[in-house]
């Protein structure tokens, strides 16, 4: 018994170090949840025999990469937002990757010009409005969310969440700071309750009648529409229309999840193979099927559920322009007291 306990403890202690030696592998720090990307990584290992080691770090990945420095075992950093990709680049922990495959698969708008990061999937930030209580023609743009006629009828996730910060940063990038402040103030004034919960919880609140309109990323809709585990979520989803905002203007704000190769990585070739794999049809299809995201690669068939929402015009602002305004956007949220 004593020996067994000892072995168990030793096994646990060196669990991390042991796996870093074998030959064909690639090491990943991920902001995206394991249950989302495990199927993709398994497909990669099956196709290439390269083992993928992963740590899911939602907060603090940047600090870990920085403090590990050149000895960091990580080959790749996977993020769920453009802002975090840009932060990694600014911190100097990323090295450029060049690949004809990636240049072909990923539109220039969604990758760094020098190959420092690559977008892998797209998600649109859309408006969800109650089917009965809100007429389709009533709300067509983000600006409408700030219209006083919706006073007490809007629900929102925290104004400090990356998705809302990116949306506000996009408004700064496309319409300027003054417009962004006015918009944030207007939405704040319309809120039915203090910002709380995730995107799904907002739709739930609309379903339950706490409010009529909210913002959300597209894939949450797909997740709710097909949730066999929690069938009540299908009812939530069925109670709202998806509205792609700003179709008559610049188009809907689109964010990306993406990947970057880290400076310390010891398996650069495998790292490129994994990024390329993630940009190819097989993986792009898995992304679309597993998480209802929009493929970054043109020509990949979207999930039927996603297709049912219709096509839309996406905004064409270079995605990195948005990231530049994130700090300012965060501060504006404080200034208008969005979460108070």
């Amino acid at each position: 018994m004593k020996k067994l306990i000892f072995k168990l403890i030793l096994g646990t202690l060196f669990a991390g170090t042991a796996s870093v030696v074998s030959a064909a592998e690639v090491n990943l720090y991920s902001e995206r949840q394991p249950f989302l990307i495990d199927p993709l990584l398994e497909a990669f290992t099956k196709a290439t025999k390269i083992k993928v080691n992963m740590v899911y770090i939602q907060k603090g990945m940047l600090e870990r990469l920085k403090s590990e420095g050149i000895n960091s075992p990580a080959d790749l950093a996977l993020t769920s937002d453009i802002g975090n990709l840009q932060n990694l680049v600014e911190a100097g922990v990323i090295r450029p990757t060049n690949s004809k495959v990636l240049e072909k698969n990923i539109p220039a708008q969604f990758r760094h010009p020098e190959g420092l990061w690559y977008g892998l999937t797209k998600r649109a930030r859309v408006i969800y409005a109650h089917k009965k209580r809100v007429m389709l023609a009533e709300i067509t743009s983000y600006a409408d969310l700030a219209n006083p006629k919706f006073k007490g009828r809007v629900c929102s996730r925290s104004g400090k969440h990356a998705y809302n910060v990116s949306l506000l940063a996009w408004i700064i990038a496309s319409q300027g700071e003054a417009a962004a402040i006015t918009w944030a103030k207007g939405v704040k004034a319309n809120l039915a309750r203090r910002p709380q919960g995730n995107d799904r919880a907002q739709v739930k609140a609309v379903f339950q009648g706490e409010c009529d309109i909210t913002l959300g990323n597209t894939y949450y809709m797909g997740l709710m529409q097909t949730d066999e585990e929690n069938p009540e979520q299908k009812d939530w989803a069925a109670s709202v229309n998806i509205i792609f905002p700003n179709q008559s203007g610049s188009g809907t704000h689109v964010n990306i999840s993406g990947v970057a190769a880290t400076k310390g990585g010891k398996n650069p070739k495998n790292a490129i193979r994994l990024i390329e794999f993630l940009s190819q049809d097989t993986a792009q299809k898995l992304y679309a099927e597993g998480n209802f995201e929009y493929p970054i690669k043109a020509g990949v068939v979207v999930h039927p559920v996603v297709a049912s929402w219709g096509t839309f015009k996406a905004d064409s602002v270079f995605i990195a322009k948005i990231a530049e305004h994130r700090t300012r956007a965060t501060r504006i949220m404080d200034e208008v007291g969005y979460n108070n």
């Binding site: 202690l13 870093v20 080691n53 870990r64 403090s67 990356a162 709380q196 339950q208």
Partner: protein
């Protein structure tokens, strides 16, 4: 002080050959405590240091916008949780220690159960039940025909009040545990004296037992408040704008880790200020038991309706802090059995148990060592240093994790650079991203639990005991082993279990510091819970609770038996 030295010298001289050895032995405690303190302080110091690196000024922005709100909310949260845990913790501890009423034997251990429920889990559970879309409000709407939210009033769970309730329900066991141990360790003489002098049981409680238990209660409350201050999961979920939420906001949304470190340092300074104020208020008071008379505690036999009132008072926190959340989780786990229960969960449970066990062993060994070194040394400087070393508990987990990351990274890269330069080989990262790093993180974070608990207990042993043992020829180590440890073993065990249970629940440090492909129950719950998918997380969440219950129950029995003079434990030398 000089007298103490000669005393030791005399006690050692029969066996040791040279005085030099004696001197090194005397200093061994001090030097050891200083070195360990320095190692443990390193990550905390690193956080302070990060705050000094160049960065955008955040203070003027915060001061003109959300800082007043952060501070007001945080103070309200502290006062609410502090009062709530004080009343529930001390009240129930007194009832089960001193009174007889139906269910007392069960409540002795059951009152500890909420300790096993992580605050973020209880927050998810109650939101599910109490929110607008939850079963209770839905039922009310159906029953009374209300159609909208505006038609009726119902307490909003996602609010400051909600956060206070959730935290009180899972944190009061700290106060209960420590004050119960204190009541159990109190000499019966003082209580008898009070009763003989005509005080009623209630007045004896307020004028004798409570003041005597004060050091333990204060430590319990300060643990609660530190836990309240560094909480992120609950306040984030409830969208309650606390100072800690502000720290995360500056760090992650404004991408300003130095600014976040400054805020964390300010928080730390605030906590140290509180600790100092309390110590000053307790100035020169000593709490040793001067007699060794420990007969059975007098139990007040409660009469009539009071009996049931006591039962209800004790049942309340157990039902709301444990039975309801555990019941809801069990319901979810059954409902989602196929997707929630898989072999991985058991592997993760193994990881959690081993890590938490290691953390508990190290924290208690080091905590006891330091508490004893402080007792031996009596120097103010050493005491201050050791107390600072246990401040990790007051720093928000992720921020402290960054401190650990940066200090271990610097150490690893330093060693690597040295080896490359001089020997030509690269050692890479030795500690970063290993279980050693995670365990170290736990130690830094939870040392306060071990140190505080042991120190409070040691404080009740009169120094004349030390004197007696030492004059009979025992060195400090032998005195600790043969006199103090047997007297404080209940508290030592309590410390070990507190650290164990807290490590089982620990999330932010594990997430940042862990190796590749490594999950604990808490990180597994987190990946689903962060997406509000409680169903998928339910089985693992229940596992955290179950693994927490077992040691908690062991602990409770140990405390009952730990009472000095408890018949079974009397040893004839």
């Amino acid at each position: 002080m000089g007298g103490r030295h000669s005393e030791v010298t005399v006690s050692m001289s029969p066996t040791s050959a040279s005085k030099r050895e004696v001197w090194s032995w005397i200093n061994g405690w001090n030097i050891g405590a200083v070195i360990i303190s320095a190692i443990v302080i390193l990550p905390i110091a690193t956080v302070i240091f990060i705050g000094l690196t160049p960065n955008d000024d955040i203070w003027s922005h915060l001061a003109s916008t959300v800082l007043p709100l952060y501070i007001a909310t945080t103070l309200q949260l502290m006062i609410g949780v502090g009062l709530g845990t004080l009343v529930i913790g001390v009240g129930t501890a007194w009832l089960v220690s001193m009174c007889r009423f139906p269910g007392k034997r069960i409540f002795e251990w059951a009152l500890l159960l909420p300790l096993a429920v992580p605050a973020y889990v209880i927050a998810y559970v109650y939101t599910d039940i109490l929110e607008f879309a939850g079963p209770i409000q839905s039922l009310l709407r159906e029953t009374f025909g209300w159609t909208s939210k505006k038609a009726y009033w119902f307490p909003e769970i996602r609010s400051l009040g909600g956060a206070i309730s959730m935290m009180t329900l899972v944190l009061y066991p700290y106060v209960y545990l420590l004050s119960r141990a204190a009541f159990m360790e109190q000499s019966v003489c003082v209580l008898e004296a009070s009763r003989v002098l005509g005080r009623s049981p209630l007045r004896s409680f307020f004028s004798v037992a409570l003041p005597l238990a004060r050091p333990a209660i204060v430590i319990g409350i300060s643990l609660v408040l530190m836990e309240t201050l560094n909480d992120f999961g609950t306040v984030d979920f409830f969208a309650v704008s606390t100072f800690t939420l502000g720290i995360y906001d500056v760090w992650l949304n404004m991408n300003n880790v130095a600014g976040a470190a400054q805020l964390a340092t300010a928080l730390l300074a605030f906590v140290m200020f509180l600790v100092l104020v309390e110590r000053f208020a307790r100035h020169k008071q000593r709490f040793h038991n001067m007699t060794a008379k420990y007969t059975d505690l007098p139990r007040y036999e409660l009469q009539g309706s009071k009996r049931y009132l006591a039962t209800i008072c004790c049942a309340f926190p157990v039902v709301f802090g444990f039975i309801i959340p555990a019941g809801v989780l069990t319901g979810f786990a059954v409902l989602h059995f196929e997707s929630a229960a898989n072999a991985d969960v058991f592997r993760f449970a193994g990881n959690s148990v081993i890590l938490s066990g290691l953390a508990a062993i190290f924290a208690v060994a080091i905590g006891t060592f330091m508490a004893y070194a402080v007792r031996l040394g009596r120097g103010r400087l050493l005491g201050a240093l050791v107390r600072f070393a246990s401040m990790g508990y007051a720093v928000p987990g992720s921020v402290l994790a960054v401190g650990v990351l940066v200090s271990l990274g610097a150490l690893d890269n330093g060693i690597d650079g040295f080896m490359r330069k001089n020997i030509g080989i690269s050692t890479g990262l030795l500690f970063s991203g290993t279980i050693v790093a995670v365990t170290f993180g736990y130690l830094v974070r939870f040392l306060a639990l071990a140190f505080g608990t042991v120190e409070a207990s040691l404080g009740k042993i009169t120094p004349s005991m030390d004197g007696a043992a030492r004059s009979l020829g025992h060195n400090p180590l032998s005195t600790l082993r043969r006199i103090h440890l047997p007297l404080i073993r209940g508290s030592v065990l309590a410390a070990a279990i507190l650290v164990f249970v807290d490590s089982m629940k620990e999330l932010p440090m594990t997430v940042i510091l862990r190796p590749f492909n490594f999950q604990t129950l808490a990180t597994y719950v987190h990946q689903f819970a962060s997406d509000e998918q409680l169903g998928e997380a339910s089985f693992a969440a229940l596992a955290i609770v179950c693994f927490g219950i077992l040691p908690v129950i062991i602990l409770s029995f140990a405390i009952t038996r730990s009472r000095p003079g408890f018949p079974i434990e009397v040893k004839v030398p």
